[in-house]
Point group: C2
Chain length 496, copies 2
């Protein structure tokens, strides 16, 4: 009979087997499942999720955590395991089973209502469900507990140790500079043409090119795949089995940068130490740090001139109607800044403004400052204020994102954290590898991989996110590197 | 709190969720998993399998079965559920956990040894593992219990209620007529040419044609898919989600008849009553009855002249180099009889002779009459006796099948049961639908589907296999219809 840390590890290997089964079922649902499989799939996932919750919150698990904790002997890995296990256990036990069940049931109804409301552009069809969802999430937060702001309890679930105050600081720091820069670009920027990126691009060619791209950059196809899904995501079933998904649209950049984005997530997962496979130490440490990896490859590497120095000829070899496009033209096109209504289609610069709107609104809904019925107005006036445009309808406005229908409140800021951290980490990387962009232009990514692996991937979930950020960059997350980075980049692109 | 039959159903819904997860993981492993996923996948499957076994064999499950049994009130469905649950429970509890574990561990080593032995054509590398596997399987059989022959305990796991005596009766009935007919064909038959079916057939065209074929015949692609796997199989995750697999080879018939074969399994699963979804009553009742459905579509429908009256023009539209092939030529080609060494490539007529060799040998190994070291000689002399050919090596001889390495002894006869039952059921179907082949020639399959659905699919696992066979055909399984059927068919094809 295993004891101490080994017994705890075994328990979490069991939980990992259940969790991974759910991941495979979800992946299959999004990629290959015929629609006739939907009803039973929902039942299967519900049952597995209950089984997993029961196993996680059992007295036996509590005992195993306590025993392992009493037996740490200063071992860093064992400490990391116990810390992760306890956090998972406590998050799961603090919320009463009845509330979990009610939220899960509400989430499926709210999701349906949201789909319908969005389709018919009728917010009133979603409002009652959203109202209830906000209430339940408030209850959830009360059970989880917090010191300063009710939002703290929720954001901590996605980004351990973060808080409303931190998110507010971040948005306070970037609000003015971003809004100002975007306005300057719109008023005085040298126009950017990207019409040539829209067209009928055969799906098999998009598939071939994006797979060539991510393989060339370093995604290991022996330890992963890329498939098609309506809403691209990255998931993993083990360190050796990481699944990317992408989609093919009229805007060619959608597949290219979407693939590089998911690849960034995927490289982080593939880079975990194999000895930690299936354990609580494997894989990315938080949503924000994870997003820093996807955005680093998507924006900082993938939308750089150096990157297309290497890959534009390949792209032109695949899509012959792009052969006359010049490197500089292409580089500017994929970085075109244009205030728009839809977050997932936003450019690098305006993206955080979309997130800011959501953060401010969800926080106010949660605290009761904003009534759900006033959401559309609050949404539209903020879009006008930050982006200078107003949605014509709620479908392209406050109904565009799935998150709130699922009860994911407190999630949005991690997108912005990812953007900030990507520049913060990149600044350190460039300090250590001054010729990083020269290597990229030659299609050589080894040094970058080694750096990321050494500093980030290899740490898995051993440290708290805040500790990891400090270890990598010598400081907590802040907006400076990000603001400096985008300012320099976009002023050059727009000649301002 | 549910009680009686409902509580039992809930318990088996949980078991079904675990079992289905394993099926999805297996399917993914055979179709899309990158090779880097193999190690963790094995661990995940091992854990899920242990969890499932623990849940199935728990005292609580025993109690639920007893309680439900005391509360049947003459309800046929409830009786069926309790009977299936008890059978599953008893098969799982009779064998000590330690033995299950040992067999599972041995199976993975034996499988490796088998792969290596086959690759190097060296039976001695597999013999020690096989010897141990036979011993363990013998122990297993002793735990399961039997009245007459130790083989009874094993065959019953695959075909409830069957026995060594039944299998022996079957093979005694078909041995002489088949050997004689094959010999007659070889000596006096009008030669059949099938060289035109071998070539380089583009995979995407094979995929398109086989999917067209199974969709036209009636496989519901809203409730299923077809993918590629090295060793084709059919699996299902619910009644609304049935997965076929196929493979593309130089012999065009491999994809065509392999797809029709798996489709036959798939139609059976898709045809279960939706109200039984995820319950012990859903799905095919035994391996033999299941195989009757795959062989019915593969051989009796799919290898008929009527079928190709309808589909040869479509095939020629896909593969232009077949345009000059005449219907009669094609029909004869896909029914070419040729004693060969490899079971999975065998024609309809010689197939059962391959099975007979395996039945006789595995029975003798089990009873101790045949020592494992003498297996190659026993194999080769039987191939000479029944098929008139002798393998040049063990790789194409006694090392060709995976079954024994996995400890699946008692499985083989169900292939032959399927062949017999397909003709037995078809005779009844033709009695009720005298113009069945005319409909096939017109591409109309509705009446056939309705008949199969009414008599077989809709019964799921409600009755014992023997009871179902009697209900469908008014008699127990016997060889008459099969022997008459193939005699008539192949004498006509070979003009003898």
């Amino acid at each position: 009979m295993a004891c101490g840390i080994d017994a705890l590890k075994d328990r979490f290997y069991d939980l990992n087997a259940l969790g991974t089964s759910m991941s495979v079922l979800h992946w299959d649902q999004q990629t290959y499942m015929p629609r006739g499989g939907a009803a039973a799939r929902a039942e299967h996932l519900g049952i597995l999720s209950r089984m997993s919750h029961e196993l996680l919150t059992s007295d036996e698990t509590a005992k195993l955590i306590d025993q392992a904790e009493g037996d740490l002997q200063g071992d860093e890995e064992a400490e990391g395991i116990v810390r992760n296990c306890r956090r998972e256990f406590e998050n799961a036990t603090k919320i009463p089973g009845k509330l979990v069940e009610e939220k899960s049931r509400l989430a499926s109804h709210a999701h349906e209502a949201w789909v319908e409301a969005r389709k018919t552009d009728d917010f009133s069809k979603f409002a009652p469900q959203l109202e209830r969802m906000v209430e339940i999430t408030r209850e959830e937060a009360e059970h989880l507990g917090y010191e300063d702001h009710i939002y703290d309890a929720l954001i901590d679930m996605y980004e351990e140790g973060s808080s409303e105050a931190e998110a507010r600081r971040v948005f306070d720091a970037i609000r003015e500079p971003l809004v100002k820069l975007v306005k300057e670009i719109q008023e005085n920027g040298r126009p950017v043409e990207n019409g040539f990126l829209h067209g009928d691009w055969p799906e098999e060619k998009q598939a071939a090119f994006t797979q060539h791209l991510v393989a060339s950059v370093g995604f290991n196809f022996d330890h992963g795949r890329q498939d098609v899904a309506p809403h691209p995501f990255c998931t993993n079933f083990s360190i050796g089995d990481v699944r990317l998904t992408t989609r093919y649209q009229r805007y060619l950049g959608s597949a290219i940068f979407g693939s590089l984005h998911e690849m960034g997530h995927g490289l982080y997962e593939q880079g975990s130490p194999m000895k930690w496979d299936r354990s609580p130490l494997a894989g990315g440490v938080s949503l924000g740090v994870h997003e820093s990896q996807s955005r680093l490859w998507e924006n900082i590497v993938g939308r750089s001139q150096a990157f297309w120095t290497r890959f534009l000829p390949d792209l032109q070899g695949t899509f012959h109607n792009l052969t006359t496009v010049k490197l500089d033209e292409f580089y500017r096109a994929v970085n075109k800044v244009e205030p728009s209504l839809i977050r997932v289609e936003a450019d690098e610069l305006t993206y955080n403004l979309h997130i800011m709107v959501r953060f401010e609104i969800e926080k106010d809904m949660l605290s009761g400052k904003l009534a759900v019925k006033d959401l559309p107005d609050a949404w539209n006036s903020r879009y006008e204020e930050y982006l200078g445009i107003t949605p014509n309808n709620d479908a392209d406005g406050c109904l565009q994102d799935v998150h709130w229908s699922m009860g994911s409140i407190g999630y949005f800021p991690t997108y912005t954290y990812g953007n900030l951290l990507s520049y913060q980490f990149w600044a350190c990387l460039q300090h250590d590898i001054p010729d990083a962009y020269d290597s990229i232009a030659r299609g050589e990514f080894e040094a970058i991989h080694e750096w990321l692996k050494d500093k980030i991937y290899s740490k898995g979930s051993l440290y708290r996110p805040k500790d990891l950020i400090e270890r990598v960059s010598g400081k907590p997350m802040e907006a400076d590197d990000y603001l400096k980075g985008v300012d320099k980049k976009f002023r050059a692109i727009y000649s301002i």
